[in-house]
């Protein structure tokens, strides 16, 4: 059975994202939980001037939450902070290429929420 949700590209992002891991010196970090299904995500961002230069994430969660975070990292590395903060649910859906049910949206948006919170917090938490 084929399932667009769990197609190869998404599973690649889930199992072997090049963005999974930690930064040596992150400028912004955020930890978030998705209480709906127990997803956890840790996001680290390196920012130079106005640009996000690197994003790393770590966490345990469903395929959608983790793959969406990886796709988001692809998208925002090189983007400005302003552009990153403008990203919304539709952008995440476009990256995933699949529609999400309202419940599943919480998984899909976990990474984006963490990135937004990381960037809008005063400075790197420790």
């Amino acid at each position: 059975m084929e399932d667009p949700f769990y197609r190869e590209e998404i599973l690649d992002h889930y199992y072997s994202s090049e963005h999974r891991g930690r930064l040596e010196r992150p400028d912004h970090v955020c930890d978030l939980d998705n209480p709906f299904c127990g997803d956890q995500i840790h996001v680290e961002l390196a920012v130079e001037g106005e640009r996000v230069v690197e994003m790393r994430f770590d966490g345990k969660g469903c395929v959608i939450s983790q793959a969406a975070a990886s796709l988001l990292a692809d998208r925002i590395e090189g983007a400005t902070v302003e552009e990153t903060l403008k990203l919304g649910p539709d952008d995440v859906l476009a990256m995933l290429g699949i529609p999400l049910t309202p419940n599943r949206m919480k998984c899909g948006l976990l990474g984006l929420r963490a990135v937004r919170q990381a960037l809008t917090a005063r400075s790197a938490a420790t």
Binding site: D3, Y6, C37, G38, D39, G61, V63
Partner: protein, 422 residues
């Protein structure tokens, strides 16, 4: 109002039972029949319940207790009749005013914790819980503990997550325990704490007992009178009734000593500018317009339950658990949460499969028409103990079949392939 044929039913003819539930004849998608294994979240509704609610809403959608016209009198009679049925089901038919209608188990436990706790708990008093509890039987106690200075104590669980009575006993050594609140059936693992023994030991030491029967009541009766418990809570929708209605049973002497939590209409006998006089039980705790059609639907659900052959249901559910343990246990990577002994639990199968996130399992099972639940099931302390963020749960009802469990096992095999790292 009630399905008369349900009362006459003797054995458990599962295909006939399934015909009582209109949802079961539906297909989730064209060609994909529904395999509903999410009964611990909410049970399906038999036609008798749907009809009772429809009849109320269509024929006598009046308010209760106040109107003097025919429709209101009919609604009041049906509403109070539902209360009487609940009371009889709980073994307290001689005093139905001990049955308080709430929005569900959660509100019922909140009501008990707050109203009883405020008049009883002192700093240092202890409330005994276990990690088997649903958040609804933890958080209200945390809240009243914070308000009164009481403390929470947790009973140990065995490796198979069973209630440890020795650790239970030790909590009483200092004479501080005022309340023991326990589920009658874990919503994650199906574990059935020994409520009879818990109630007896607590009572002997002067502590009150609250039973959360939200999960158990669909599978086994609860006789609060013979158990001698002080409070019991359950939800209508988990016993084949509507959502939006539940019950708090409380012993009359306790309910009478408690202050109401919600103020408003119906809960007062007289209101002056600066004070009010509370109404009698049960109205004292039922401020505002109650869930009328829902309560009447709950009455019909109780009738439906009583029309089933309890022994036949128990035998069937036991066979389902045994089959589930066997068929699912044969799937490589399947890890059962809780007791491996089918006789030690209710028909709830909590599990994980390899490292797959339960949420992915649930979504993929939906492709096969199989409805299960994934997440922490409002039992985060239990999952913390297990060291997992979430689990998957197949929960069974009398209308489920071994064939449906086989389909679940097959689907899990397929999903392992679908999720395989490529």
């Amino acid at each position: 109002m009630a399905d008369a044929t349900a009362r006459e039913r003797v054995g458990l003819d599962v295909s006939r039972l399934r015909a009582d539930f209109p949802t079961l004849v539906e297909e989730v998608r064209p060609g994909v029949p529904l395999r509903y294994l999410d009964n611990a979240a909410t049970a399906l509704k038999p036609t008798a319940v749907i009809e009772a609610v429809r009849e109320c809403m269509a024929d006598y959608p009046a308010n209760v207790h106040r109107g003097l016209h025919a429709l209101s009198e009919r609604a009041t009679a049906a509403f109070e009749d539902a209360r009487a049925r609940v009371a009889r089901r709980l073994g307290v038919g001689d005093d139905p005013a001990q049955v308080i209608f709430t929005r569900g188990s959660t509100e019922a436990i909140n009501l008990a914790a707050r109203a009883w706790g405020r008049t009883t708990l002192k700093p240092g008093d202890a409330i005994v819980l276990s990690e088997l509890e649903h958040h609804a039987n933890i958080v209200p106690w945390q809240m009243i503990a914070a308000e009164t200075g009481a403390v929470l104590r947790y009973v140990d669980l065995s490796d198979e997550l069973e209630y440890d009575l020795d650790s239970f006993d030790r909590h009483f050594d200092d004479g501080k325990v005022r309340m023991v609140a326990t589920t009658a059936m874990s919503n994650v693992t199906g574990v059935r704490p020994p409520v009879e023994e818990i109630a007896r030991r607590a009572r002997d030491r002067g502590a009150r007992v609250l039973i959360d029967a939200a999960q158990s009541l669909a599978h086994e009766p609860l006789d609060v009178a013979s158990l001698g418990v002080d409070f019991a809570a359950f939800s209508g929708h988990k016993i084949f009734g509507p959502t939006g209605v539940g019950v708090l049973y409380g012993k009359r002497e306790l309910l009478e000593a408690m202050e109401p939590v919600l103020g408003g209409g119906n809960m007062v006998l007289r209101v002056e500018r600066d004070r009010a006089v509370w109404n009698e039980l049960p109205d004292k705790f039922e401020a505002g317009t109650p869930p009328i059609a829902e309560a009447i639907g709950l009455g019909a659900a109780i009738d439906y339950l009583e029309g089933l052959d309890a022994d036949a249901v128990a035998r069937h559910e036991r066979a389902l658990i045994e089959h589930a343990h066997e068929a699912l246990g044969a799937v490589e990577g399947f890890r059962l949460l809780g007791p491996s002994d089918p006789t030690a639990k209710g028909p709830i199968v909590g599990f994980t499969l390899d490292d797959a996130h339960p949420h992915d399992l649930a979504q993929l099972l939906d492709r096969f028409g199989i409805a299960i639940r994934a997440g922490h099931h409002c039992a985060m302390p239990l999952h913390a103990r297990l060291g997992i963020p979430a689990s998957a749960r197949a929960s069974l009802a009398p209308y489920n079949t071994t064939e449906e469990i086989d389909r679940l096992a097959e689907a899990l095999e397929s999903i392992k392939t679908m999720l395989r790292r490529r």
